[in-house]
């Protein structure tokens, strides 16, 4: 967009994404017509991406505190106490729109951005995870996007040397024109060395470090706050380009600087770059800031103030230093061969003043820019009732259903993806992808383990956003519990369609309510997060296609003694027990979708008190050493969970007959929540007695051993047949 000649008026404001009364409000705050740069600052700060204007009212209802929460939402990432004076710092963030337009760079810079949110607080990043949703595997564009996104995540994460240890992938045609790439980073810092973004100290220097500023990503935050149309690919110039090598240097240089006492405040230049970092740092600190853009390291000649303030060039940080430490800091960045420039200082004016080539290009009072940012109470429709599940019949039997399900896109082995991500760098990865329900990473030089997972079942959220979002929280909690770890907190990434539509707003509101309910019941507060709206595609005929509501949950738990964890691989002998109640709910199950071809019914019930009771029991038994392996029952139900344990361990089992009075397919493939499979030594009777005493339903499920998965009928599915079926999907899709 050639904006140099444009006149600032309501029309240009609309082009910049300022709608309705918003431009009038800008005029009122400014008391005059803003300059182009000023309009740019308002438009990005008031974009959905930066201001959360549609969701803020509802986000406030989420529980965010607990005795172990050190910093909740509002900082660059959430911070929780993990013991021994250490803190885990973590957050998940989306890069959905860029990943459709330019999959490799979109995904890569998503990883880069979330890493910076974490190390800017003083943490060394120790693990990456990613939650991905792609379109239908039959859509030829899907393969291209999968390829680019996976290469991008690997290309960035592998180079910066942070292991990628977990995540999840779903396929659904609702994501055809709008994939979701949600990246999560977890870091570890000393509790007494956590760095915040609030600027302080009038006169203190404001320092720019990292890569030079170019013309890339201008208005990226605005782009990600609008729906896509058929011209989406024309927005490629708004996608940033990442350089993981520079990021690696930036991590090392920042951590080296943070080991000194030089830093007053620090923030990465993420969405809306120099604008958001300077406005937020000064705003939070209640001070003013003056920037001299002539001092900004520039990659291209003749950049305007507007371009520099809105550029989203990657791998840049803004730091407020103690003045006496400036030269010490400069030496560190010179050692790492990164740009270092004093580009301004803090003032007592409460204003942001931007100078360039002798002119004042922007002069805005900060308080109203933040306080008077629009907040919308958008209309909320009532939610439709879920479609009835409809009649159930089993046309194929257990054996065929197992093979079909383990090979379907949502359940097939993800090894094709994992094997492109370095999961061991750092030497602390205790459980790699597929080894346990949550990835486990030891904190270097301690006995502490972190259990990490991402979870969401979008088809549940589509049928019932409230139950679906509660389920996502419960599943994250359960996956952490299944390793023996204590769940501490979550980060969320709320991916929804256009909030201006009351029916979409209804999904968002119900999902936040469901999440809040589950987080409260499970003492699992939300400490950081991100909202990504307008995830829908406009078809050439004017109709739109919304994504499934996808409130992705990133969960973090802690093991005080990392040795005391369990994985999901079937042990060599013993008994397999099922914990938790089975009702045989087939609504929205994968069996229903894959075998009967229907996406009907309600999401399964989420009974949070049973969830808590069952999970607390499992965790206690793992700590006592009574459980050899544990796997939660989720997508595909009991029989798929058993098959996954068999494939992971290379050890078979013989199944007992199903619960009487229930259709076999409902028992084996129903997706009732709050259930675990546990492998124990011996006949399991003692553990079942203890479960009964704690009010936890239990049931003998299988005797462990044998050459495969032996069904109650006596038929055996060999381990190699299961594995071949499970491993076929990705290579077949990607090699077409």
């Amino acid at each position: 967009m050639n904006v140099k000649q444009k006149t600032v008026d309501a029309e240009l404001a609309r082009e910049f994404g300022l709608f309705g009364e918003e431009y009038a409000q800008v005029l009122e705050i400014m008391g005059r017509i803003p300059s182009l740069t000023e309009l740019g600052v308002f438009s990005v700060m008031w974009s959905e991406h930066c201001s959360y204007k549609s969701s803020r009212k509802w986000l406030r209802t989420l529980p965010t505190t607990a005795p172990w929460v050190i910093h909740g939402p509002g900082e660059n990432a959430g911070v929780v106490d993990i013991g021994q004076g250490l803190a885990a710092i973590f957050k998940m963030e989306s890069h959905n729109h860029p990943s459709f337009i330019e999959p490799y760079q979109g995904a890569a810079t998503g990883v880069g951005g979330i890493l910076r949110d974490v190390f800017t607080m003083g943490a060394r990043p120790v693990a990456n995870l990613n939650a991905l949703r792609f379109g239908s595997p039959e859509n030829p564009r899907t393969r291209q996007i999968v390829d680019g996104v996976v290469r991008g995540i690997g290309g960035y994460g592998n180079c910066v040397g942070v292991p990628t240890v977990g995540g999840e992938v779903n396929f659904h045609s609702a994501y055809d024109g709008n994939p979701l790439v949600n990246a999560m980073t977890v870091g570890v810092a000393r509790q007494d060395r956590i760095f915040l973004s609030a600027a302080a100290g009038i006169g203190n220097p404001v320092v720019y470090v990292g890569s030079k500023t170019g013309r890339d990503g201008i208005h990226g935050a605005t782009m990600s706050s609008a729906e896509f149309d058929e011209n989406a690919l024309a927005k490629r110039p708004t996608v940033q380009v990442g350089d993981p090598f520079i990021e690696k240097l930036l991590i090392e240089a920042c951590l080296e600087l943070m080991a000194t006492d030089a830093v007053v405040a620090i923030q990465d230049m993420g969405a809306a770059g120099l604008t958001s970092s300077s406005v937020e740092m000064a705003g939070k600190g209640g001070v003013g800031i003056e920037l001299d853009l002539d001092a900004v390291p520039q990659r291209e000649p003749d950049m305007t103030a507007y371009e520099m303030m809105l550029s989203e060039s990657q791998e840049r940080m803004l730091i407020v230093l103690r003045p006496e430490c400036t030269e010490q800091a400069r030496a560190i960045f010179e050692k790492w061969e990164l740009d270092f420039a004093v580009i301004g200082h803090l003032t007592d004016t409460g204003r942001i003043v931007v100078r360039h080539k002798g002119n004042v290009e922007a002069d805005i009072l900060l308080a109203p820019l933040a306080d008077q940012a629009p907040v919308y109470d958008r209309p909320v429709a009532s939610l439709p009732f879920p479609e009835p599940t409809g009649p159930i019949h089993d046309p194929v039997g257990l054996e065929q259903a197992v093979i079909k399900l383990v090979s379907c896109p949502d359940l097939a082995s993800r090894a094709w993806i994992w094997n492109q991500y370095d999961s061991t760098v750092g030497g602390q990865t205790v459980r790699r992808p597929g080894g346990a329900d949550a990835a486990i990473v030891r904190v270097e030089d301690t006995s502490i383990g972190l259990a990490l997972t991402t979870d969401c079942t979008p088809r549940y959220c589509q049928a019932n956003p409230r139950a679906g979002a509660a389920q996502a929280v419960a599943e994250a909690w359960r996956n952490i519990t299944a390793t023996g770890a204590t769940p501490l907190a979550v980060t969320d990434n709320l991916n929804f369609a256009n909030p201006e539509k009351p029916e979409i707003m209804a999904q968002l509101v119900a999902a936040i309510e469901g999440m809040g309910e589950a987080c409260r019941a499970l003492d699992f507060p939300v400490v950081s997060g991100n909202v990504s709206l307008y995830n829908e595609t406009r078809n050439p005929d004017g109709t739109t296609r919304a994504i499934l509501p996808t409130p992705a949950i990133g969960g973090l738990g802690v093991l005080t003694d990392v040795e005391k964890h369990v994985g999901m691989a079937m042990p060599e002998s013993g008994t397999l027990l099922l914990l938790g109640e089975t009702k045989g709910q087939l609504g929205q199950s994968l069996w229903l979708r894959e075998i009967l071809g229907r996406e009907t019914g309600d999401a399964p019930d989420v009974d949070l008190s049973a969830e808590r009771r069952n999970g607390d029991f499992v965790r206690k038994q793992i700590a006592l050493g009574a459980i050899a392996a544990c796997h939660d029952v989720s997508d595909g139900g009991i029989l798929i969970a058993v098959a996954e344990m068999v494939m992971a361990g290379g050890i078979g089992c013989e199944l007992e007959p199903p619960q009487s009075g229930m259709r076999p397919e409902a028992y084996w493939f129903g997706e009732d929540q709050g259930r675990y499979l546990i492998a124990v030594a011996g006949d399991g009777q003692e553990l079942m007695r203890e479960a009964a005493e704690c009010g936890v339903a239990s049931r003998l499920l299988a005797r462990i051993g044998g050459a495969g998965l032996t069904l109650p009928s006596g038929a055996t599915i060999s381990i190699s047949r299961l594995r071949v079926a499970s491993e076929a999907f990705f290579p077949a899709m990607m090699s077409v």
């Binding site: 290469r151 690997g154 290309g155 592998n158 180079c159 910066v160 040397g161 350089d243 993981p244 090598f245 520079i246 690696k248 240097l249 790492w336 061969e337 994992w418 094997n419 492109q420 991500y421 370095d422 999961s423 061991t424 760098v425 750092g426 030497g427 602390q428 990865t429 205790v430 790699r432 080894g435 030891r442 270097e444 990392v562 040795e563």
Partner: protein, 233 residues
């Protein structure tokens, strides 16, 4: 054993290597910076994994011209011991301290998975902890690990027993054409080689990431134990 680990901009497995060396030898290694022009008194220098200088131009190509590599060449001439793993192996071939080259993986994708290695020559300071034909597991994580060399070089390496590790099945069977057991497509399934005096070793997989049963096994320990043994003798 006095060991030093070289850190280039972009190196990322120096911590893994330091943990492995410390856990086996009991001594923390010294960290060496790529701009250093003098070396401390050392028995062993390790070039660890990572993306030195971003792997721009070609993996290891820029590191090969860094100030410290001039010193390391002299160190090698004096008979010093050097271990290069992954990016370190690439740097050793780029400096021509070791022969051959490492091309893009045959499948053209980054690979991160466990592989099995067969010990081809147990009479080196890097492999003495194994017996000939022994098989061990090691994680690999690289985009460019496809070892190539001309026929004359390959013939010489084989004749002199300088191929020390080959990718194999867990049974020890070597099938260079099988991408399941020779994942990056290396010629003759070569995973690691030594210099003619046996004092410089380059290998692609990461024994340093498997020295603790908690992390899934201790298969990599014999390499570090061999080195410790070599320097107490």
């Amino acid at each position: 054993m006095k060991a030093g680990i070289v850190v280039f901009p972009g190196t990322n497995r120096e911590r893994d290597m330091a943990i492995a060396l410390r856990s086996v030898s009991g001594h923390a290694p010294k960290m060496l910076w790529h701009r250093d022009v003098t070396l401390p008194d050392l028995d062993l220098i390790v070039l660890p994994g990572g993306f030195s200088y971003g792997d721009y131009l070609r993996c290891g190509a820029m590191a090969a011209h860094s100030p410290i590599m001039r010193e390391i060449k002299k160190f090698v001439k004096r008979g010093g011991y050097v271990l290069g793993v992954c990016n370190g192996f690439q740097i050793l071939t780029e400096t021509q301290i070791l022969p051959g080259a490492l091309l893009r993986n045959a499948g053209l994708r980054f690979l991160s998975q466990d592989c099995f290695l067969r010990v081809e020559n147990e009479r080196t300071p890097f492999t003495a902890g194994w017996r000939k034909g022994g098989v061990f597991r090691a994680p690999l994580a690289h985009g460019d690990g496809n070892y190539v060399a001309d026929d004359a070089t390959l013939g010489k390496l084989e004749a002199e027993g300088r191929v020390v590790f080959r990718y194999s099945a867990s049974s020890g069977e070597v099938s260079p054409g099988d991408r399941d057991t020779n994942p990056n497509g290396s010629m003759d399934a070569i995973a690691g080689i030594v210099s003619s005096d046996g004092r410089v070793c380059g290998m692609m997989p990461h024994p340093e990431d498997l020295v603790d049963p908690l992390m899934g096994g201790a298969d990599g320990r014999p390499l570090f134990e061999s080195l410790v043994e070599a320097f107490v003798r």
